[in-house]
Amino acid sequence: MRIGVFICHCGENIGRTVDCPSVASACANFSGVVHAEDYKYMCSDPGQNLIKQAIKEKNLDAVVVGSCSPHMHEKTFRKACSDAGINPFLVEMANLREHCSWIHDDVPSATRKAIDLVRMLVEKVKFNEPLIPIRVPVTKRALVIGGGISGIQASLDIANAGYEVVLVEKEPSIGGHMSQLSETFPTLDCSQCILTPRMVEVYQHPRIKLVSYSEVENVEGFIGNFSVTIRKKARSVKDELCTGCGLCVQKCPIKKVALSDFDEGLATRPAMYVPFPQAVPNIPVIDRSVCTYFKTGKCQLCKKVCGREAIDFEQQDQLIKEDVGAIIVATGYKLYTIDKKPDESMIKGYGEYGYGKFKDVVDGLQFERIASASGPTSGEMLRPSDKTTPKKIVFIQCVGSRDESKGFSYCSKICCMYTAKHAMLYKHKVHDGEAYVFYMDIRAGGKNYDEFVRRAIEEDGVKYIRGRVSKIYEENGKLIVKGEDTLAGVRVEIDADMVVLATAMIAQNDSVKLAQTLSVSYDKYGFFNESHPKLKPVETSTGGIFLAGACNAPRDIPDSVSMASAAAAKALVLFGSDVLEREPVVAKVNEATCAGCFYCQKVCAYNAIEQKEIKDRQGNVIKVVAYVNSGLCQGCGTCNATCPSKSVELLGFKDDQIYAQINSFAEVF
């Protein structure tokens, strides 16, 4: 190998403490080094030309630059050498500035160290191989999972940028939780009014394919090249024929059997139903568990009235396949409910609040439905038990949140805000009513958020009491709420007509399963993990899969929407090029020596290692070996260090390259 060494003075920066000419002349004596020189500013144009010239004149095939940190100029020198015909991965940098001249004073020892540093990389570069950047083609199509406000926003952004989107929604309609809300903080604008136009836009968008009442069953492939299997659940209605006229729903005699999920169990719905009037798509579904036909074989009234013959009792689940290049997960959250003991053996949960036994103790979403003009009470403040107007209402914050013993340790972040909103909405409707809020801290960090809470207190006269509630019980038609005001140091007992619990926002039931299908990591609560909490908040650990909204952590609408747009932007960055180019610093398996133990597979955090069958000519499997999917490999090298037979190596940091450095770190004894 013909190696060239170039020592940079960096003006005085290196030259002051390191005797650069001596370093260069010492390096000239290393075996394999055919050229060594020093220069004032290596990264300057003349400096780079010096290297290019030497490569040509001395016919160099590897270069070591002794200058600043590779984080500073590795790209510069790789490019210069590449221009001169050397593979960029045959260039190494010795850090003589940050790791030597700047941190030492003594010239002789700094010079000695500099020589060592260059020698180590000269030895390493002898084992470097030319590498070619990995190029994978990109399918410029996105899958969005979950049609809440986050999924809607992400879909619209991508589609408006000119790319196709497949939007998969588990429920019969998109809209998510936002469609259930009455009015939204901090502006108190009507949720449906701002959401519905976007739902319609999704529906009508030529580049968005909406697949509702469906779930993602399987995902294969890697960034730029995913193949997704979607299960379309049997709706019992042919969506291509249905016009959404709603006749079937009107005619269905099974009116009051099932509790409406949309109304949080406060109202009933027929067997044939659309979740809410503005549903998108506006295509009904038969709830087979309550439909008379499915139970007894009789009825079919819906079928009789449907002029479009859209009703299909025999419909089966359908599996459809979609190829996409990026995936955005926007599956949202659910609410912690107190109406059961979460774990019989441990008995956690809020027995002291009645385990859901009191009808007039409701949760936040139930209150939204009561407050909503389209809700079961048409927006009139009526309590569930006897439909009277509650004159005294108590809100309790942090139920299930910040509660290690009965719920979850985290703060749900938005309940302080929605509680203030609820109390205001209540006061706006029941002027002579009294509203109390039990809180521990008020977390209203957001634009105009604290002002909003202050308004509830100062303008609407909501009484905030700092302390947790210990017990709620019923006495003579009142709900007795026993709390403590820790500021005054007095016990407070309120005989309320209704109690609203701000229960925690928690992960969806199936989030862990979905995370596993997608190979993305999740936290101990079941929320999907971002790749880096500060700098990669919408990426996951798996390339090409992004997160939006409350599936990542409790989050309000503005944050969900920003995150969705950010995730869309990340997908669009991916779609910006036809092929993906990545550093070829990835692991590679030597199939001849691999013993098939798959220790490597266990330690890879990116699920980059697959099993590959090696077959003989007759097609019989002779052995199974590891195979690194370079689309997924991030180049950490953990597999390399783990493999007992040294059969998987990280290119650019292979064993012999590192041993070469170790062997030469000091003059050999």
Binding site: I347, G351, Y473, N476
Partner: protein, 293 residues
């Protein structure tokens, strides 16, 4: 069936009728109790007020005795004793420091392995079916408020007995007698227990709230499984009424007495005459419906 028996101080004193009725009922249900020889007080709330170590050492002594006397399962009908025994067991098992100090204090080695039952779990073991099939008195009009108090259910992590906020095991036993448990609020509220003597006024106040709620939910009787609960609700009730004139009385029975009644056992032998709040009217109203054997 055969169980070891740790009566505790109350059952050999103020709660005589608890002891009487329990033995009477068990005799009927073919169950023997073998009293731990030379048992001592479990220390109740006074021991752990004075010394954490003492609160473990006294129960430990009894557990060791039981083991030495060949027992595997012991019944502690008093909820306070049950609680102290279980908590001590737990600490001895999980905290080496405490165990070593206790062994040093008692001069004996401690080894785990005694199963401690409370009154309710005893009846569960015997079998509710047995109670149901032997019930002779029609209890269908009887509304019962089951009162657990603090010590049967807390701390849940250690006792692992029933839901600490809304327990239902006593209700199951009561249902086996044919009576109707009421769903009320103060099943596990504290009656003031230990302050019965030092702060009578506190106990009266707390007990009054419990009595009120039971009456409010239309209970004819409150059933308890703890002598301290009983004395606070029964003995103190007289003064409560005196200090708050015009209040209704409600009789307080031990669970064992209720079962005994349903089995048609002799009232005197069940100690039903030993209460401060007269049980006679309640019993009279029952016997009107008594079913012939």
């Amino acid at each position: 069936m055969n169980f070891g028996y740790y009566p505790g101080c109350s059952l050999s004193g103020t709660a005589k009728e608890f002891d009487l009725s329990l033995k009477e009922v068990l005799k009927y249900l073919d169950t023997d109790l073998q009293e731990i020889n030379d048992w001592c007080c479990c220390g109740a709330s006074s021991a752990h007020s004075a010394s954490h170590l003492l609160s473990v050492a006294l129960p430990a002594r009894n557990l060791i005795l039981a083991k030495e006397q060949g027992m595997k399962e012991i019944v502690a009908p008093c909820a306070a004793c049950f609680n102290r025994l279980k908590v001590a067991q737990h600490e001895l098992k999980t905290d080496d420091h405490i165990r070593i100090n206790t062994e040093e204090l008692l001069d004996t080695k401690y080894s785990d392995g005694i199963n401690v039952l409370n009154l309710i779990s005893l009846f569960q073991q015997i079998g509710l079916e047995k109670i149901k099939s032997n019930a002779k008195v029609d209890f269908s009009k009887l509304n019962v408020a089951c009162y657990y108090g603090c010590l049967l259910v807390r701390p849940h992590d250690i006792l692992k007995f029933d839901d600490p906020e809304n327990p239902t095991t006593m209700e199951e036993v009561v249902k086996a007698t044919g009576a109707k448990p009421v769903d009320w609020n103060f099943k596990v509220e504290c009656c003031g227990a230990a302050h019965s003597i030092a702060h009578t006024e506190i106990v009266e106040n707390l007990s009054m709230k419990i009595l009120d709620d039971a009456i409010n939910y239309k209970a004819n009787v409150i059933v308890v499984a703890c002598p301290m609960c009983h004395s606070n609700l029964d003995m103190r009730q007289k003064n409560i009424i005196k200090h708050n004139p015009g209040r209704n009385k409600i009789p307080i029975l031990y669970l064992s007495q209720l079962i005994g009644l349903s089995l048609g056992l002799d009232h005197k032998k069940l100690g039903l005459d030993l209460h401060f709040i007269d049980t006679a009217p309640l019993i009279a109203s029952l016997s009107e419906n008594e079913v012939a054997v």
